[in-house]
Amino acid sequence: MRSNLIILMSSLLLHALCSAPALADGGKIVLMERQGDYRISVFTSPDPLRAGPIDISVLIQDAENGEPIPKPQIIVTLKSARAPFQTIRAVATNDAATNKLLSAALVDLPEPGEWKCDVNFLVRHTAFQLHFLIDAGEQTTVRLAVWPWFTWPAGAVILFGIHRRLVWRRRPATR
């Protein structure tokens, strides 16, 4: 029984750890538009958008009944407004998204500023295109990104201080 329990719990943990390899989870809606028979919604994260790794997710639905279109082919192209020759292209896939209604493209935005974003997609042999602008802020500094990693020991130290004080209080005053 014990080994079965261990196997069960290990399997659950393994499932939990391996269930989704991607981090893309939609984010903030930047565009909702109807094109032909389809309603397209584009999400970006993080919010607010910053230079560095970002996620652009697209949801394509049937405009009539709201049903999602499964596995559309989507290409996201980003062009810097400052340097138009700087282009980033990525394929948005269902696998990369956490929410499997969406197709996500994970791109590394090299610099802050305004970026022109084109979303090209193909549904049932018909090509569509969307354009919109995104404004990315300065990249989060490393220090800001890792502050929880070097501040948590303060909590442990406070707890330890309380612990030792309590221990000393209970000691007989013979020392």
Binding site: A20, L23, G26, P68, L101, W168
Partner: protein
């Protein structure tokens, strides 16, 4: 099945931290419950773990199942998430009576030493008692529910992920407080009448109904966020809101009315004979002696401690008499390849095995092995292999000179190595690297040819000293299994030697050995002990640093200024060595050079190292020692205090070495591939393919590497602070005296930690790898 549902069933977010936390909590609970169930199966029936695990599962489902991603698109799913967090998980967790199983499931030292004093803390107990009183818990729960369901509160949570986490924390915390008086988990003793729960739950249901009705009957969408998200399957935002209201109303009411019903039934049948029998049965069990949950520390036999020598395969291999020569031969082969390639191969470090293997892989693996095991590199040391093989023909026999019987020579050699590493860029010269390895073989051979024992290891070898000091923080230690067996031993083979192996060459007598200092893990004592009473046992990392007994072959720490100097050079050297490859420090060195009239690079490096590993440590520990003596009103000499506390710095230094070498290992571990391919190709073996030099190029380190580095520094910081505090406690008459004596050392440790964090956040040179390709 609709495509939306199909997608929902596949949408499982990645939540490793939550998964690991839930798993550990469940494991600790089950361990404790099993032990309690054996004693009292009536009280600790299987329903308890079922409820507790159900509560954990509810939390996991709410936060790491398709509910989480879909909560952003549908209000009803979001409401379901909140119901799980507020009305399902908390009562189930309390129904599992978690306090005793969680305590019992913890390791005994953690439970008795760490947790017990905190649980006995009167302030904590009083605060909890106040917070779980119905007159406090009810308003807190209701206020939290209403506050976060106002349009402003809800929108805040929806639009900002940080606030969403705060919202969930508020829900779980207040719900746990709310459900505590209802469940009254054992062993709590409520001071309020049970009848109070009738208005308590009825009023909670009433406010829930009111809120649900507001959602159901509102003519407009209350939360504008949901008007602006794509609608799924033709469901309008208003319909979604109504559905959310119904969900809150019906299952919400059930959650409040069900316990009410249960309490009514228990009131009615409380005086029946069945209940009396049940209570009598419980009383019989309760009359048994109490379990040592948080009482006095349990004495565990050392024989029960984890012993690496008893692990299948690994233990058998290590007990094999020729395991050490086998490992040494492997390492000697690698050393031969390094020497050969270093002398004959291309003098470009990333292309040469002498530039890659020692400076990226060997250093990194060595420090990691010290972290997870012990001094296994000294066990496999190739440099002592030739003298071991040739020992019977060597003159030997002379004792190591008395005036050199200290660590001062090693202190000088380590300082020399650290300085020359930077001054002559050792990492970038395969030729010098090869000659260092040759020098090592020759020195070990010569020293041990003339002198008895393992004089080279104990007094000369800089790598050995590095391993000895840092292995004081390792979790494994070569030590006796049962001290009682040694007290009856008269032959003492572990120090004198026997027919199968010599005695300890480093003069460590096992029964009086404390910690890993000076232990090469040669396992001669293991092989020679006729009682098989020596093992590689688990120990609490750094535990031996805070105590100062007489150690065999070493003496007391307080009487060894040479050892303290060794520690300080290694600790400050860790920071100086890592800082020496950061951009700002290199720029400061240049600026300093220009300021004093452009001296050579060698002079600047010399000045830098003289300051960093000589002047700075002497100044820092002198000041800290004086302040410690003055503030703590200690009677000892300032130098004696400084020497004693220096050992508390070992963990933070070890953390810095780990961060530094780990950075190189994890950031450039693939550099070995092209170097090996190049080596094979040069010698006519094309089986490994053409070297792909991009592989070794300076690449952006993975995002997790800075996290790893800081985590290592965190553990170093905490262990150093803990060790320092324990040292101060040992010499203090009361808490405040100990704290005052420790304060300057705590400041020094924190300053070192701050330096370490600053270093790992700087742009660094990826040494041992090729520069980035030109675009």
């Amino acid at each position: 099945m609709s495509p939306t549902l199909q997608a929902a069933l596949r949408s499982w977010p990645l939540a490793p931290w939550l998964a690991v936390s839930v798993f550990i909590t469940a494991a600790v609970y089950l361990l404790g419950w099993r032990s309690l169930c054996r004693r009292d199966p009536v009280r600790w029936h299987v329903g308890r773990p079922a409820a507790f695990l159900g509560g954990l599962a509810a939390i996991y489902l709410a936060l790491a199942s398709p509910i989480e991603p879909f909560a952003a698109l549908l209000l009803q799913v979001h409401m379901l998430q909140h119901l799980l967090l507020m009305m399902v998980a908390p009562p189930l967790l309390w129904l599992g009576w978690p306090l005793l199983p969680m305590l019992r499931g913890l390791p005994a030292p953690v439970r008795t030493y760490w947790v017990a004093p905190l649980l006995r803390w009167r302030v904590l107990r009083k605060t909890f008692a106040v917070l779980t009183h119905p007159f406090v818990a009810w308003p807190l729960y209701v206020a939290t529910t209403w506050l976060w369901h106002t349009p402003a509160g809800y929108e805040l949570g929806l639009n900002q992920s940080g606030w969403h986490v705060v919202e969930h924390l508020c829900f779980v915390a207040t719900a746990l407080l709310f459900w505590f008086p209802v469940v009254r988990p054992h062993p709590s003793r409520p001071t309020w009448p049970r009848a109070l729960l009738f208005p308590y739950l009825l009023l909670a249901d009433a406010q829930n109904t009111l809120l649900a009705a507001w959602l159901c009957f509102s003519p407009s969408v209350l939360y504008p966020y949901y008007s602006n998200v794509p609608r799924l399957d033709g469901l309008s935002a208003l319909d979604d809101q109504t559905a959310a209201g119904v969900l809150m109303w019906v299952p919400g009411s059930v959650a409040f009315l069900l316990p009410l019903f249960w309490i009514s039934v228990s009131y009615l049948f409380d005086s029946t004979s069945a209940a009396k029998t049940h209570r009598a049965k419980r009383r019989r069990v309760a009359s048994l002696p109490q379990l040592p949950i948080i009482g006095a520390r349990q004495i565990t036999s050392k024989a029960q401690a984890f012993d690496l020598l008893r692990v299948p395969f690994i233990g058998r291999f290590l007990r094999w008499r020729f395991s050490r020569p086998f490992l040494q031969t492997l390492m000697a082969l690698l050393a031969a390849i390094v020497i050969f390639d270093g002398l004959t191969g291309p003098q470009i470090s990333p292309l040469n095995l002498a530039g890659v293997l020692p400076w990226i892989h060997w250093r990194g693996l060595l420090i990691l092995s010290l972290l997870v095991g012990g001094n296994f590199f000294c066990m496999a040391c190739p440099f002592t292999l030739p003298r071991t093989l040739a020992r019977r023909w060597l003159p030997g026999g002379r004792p190591w000179p008395q005036w050199l019987r200290s660590k001062w020579l090693a202190v000088g050699l380590i300082s020399l190595f650290l300085w020359s590493y930077e001054a002559f860029s050792l990492w970038s010269s395969p030729w010098i690297t090869a000659w260092i390895a040759i020098g090592y073989f020759v020195a070990a051979f010569l020293v041990d040819s003339f002198f008895t024992g393992a004089a080279f290891c104990k007094y000369v070898c800089p790598i050995g000293q590095f391993n000895f000091v840092n292995s004081l923080v390792s979790p494994l230690e070569v030590k006796v299994r049962e001290p009682g067996v040694c007290s009856t031993c008269t032959t003492m083979e572990c120090i004198r030697g026997g027919a199968t192996a010599p005695g300890c060459g480093l003069e460590l007598f096992q029964p009086r050995k404390h910690g890993n200092l000076d232990c090469t893990f040669c396992l001669d004592c293991v092989h020679v002990c006729p009682h098989q009473n020596v093992g590689i046992l688990a120990t609490v990392p750094g535990n031996t640093l805070s105590r100062d007994p007489i150690r065999s072959g070493i003496g007391r720490f307080t009487q060894r200024p040479d050892l303290a100097a060794l520690v300080l050079v290694l600790v400050f050297g860790a920071f100086a060595n890592a800082a020496g490859m950061t951009e700002p420090v290199l720029q400061w060195q240049d600026q300093l050079g220009m300021l004093v009239g452009n001296p050579s690079r060698l002079s600047v490096t010399t000045a830098y190292y003289f300051f960093a590993i000589v002047l700075l440590p002497v100044f820092a520990v002198s000041v800290a020692g004086c302040l410690s003596r003055y503030w703590g009103k200690l009677t000892d000499d300032s130098w004696a205090i400084a020497i004693r506390y220096s050992f508390a710095l070992i963990p933070i230094g070890f953390g810095m070495w780990l961060a530094h070498y780990g950075f190189h290992l994890f950031g450039s571990c693939d550099a070995i591939i092209p170097a090996t391919q190049r080596f094979a190709e040069d010698h006519g073996w094309n089986l490994l393919g053409v070297p792909s030099l991009q592989c070794a190029c300076c690449q952006k380190p993975s995002d997790w590497i800075p996290h790893f580095e800081i985590l290592m520094l965190d553990f170093g910081l905490l262990l150093s602070l803990y060790t320092g505090f324990r040292i101060s406690e040992a010499n203090a008459a009361h808490f405040s005296q100990g704290t005052k004596a420790f304060a300057p050392w705590a400041l020094l440790i924190c300053l070192l930690f701050a330096c370490g964090v600053w270093i790992v956040l700087q742009p660094m040179e990826m040494r041992g790898t090729l520069p980035p390709p030109l675009n």
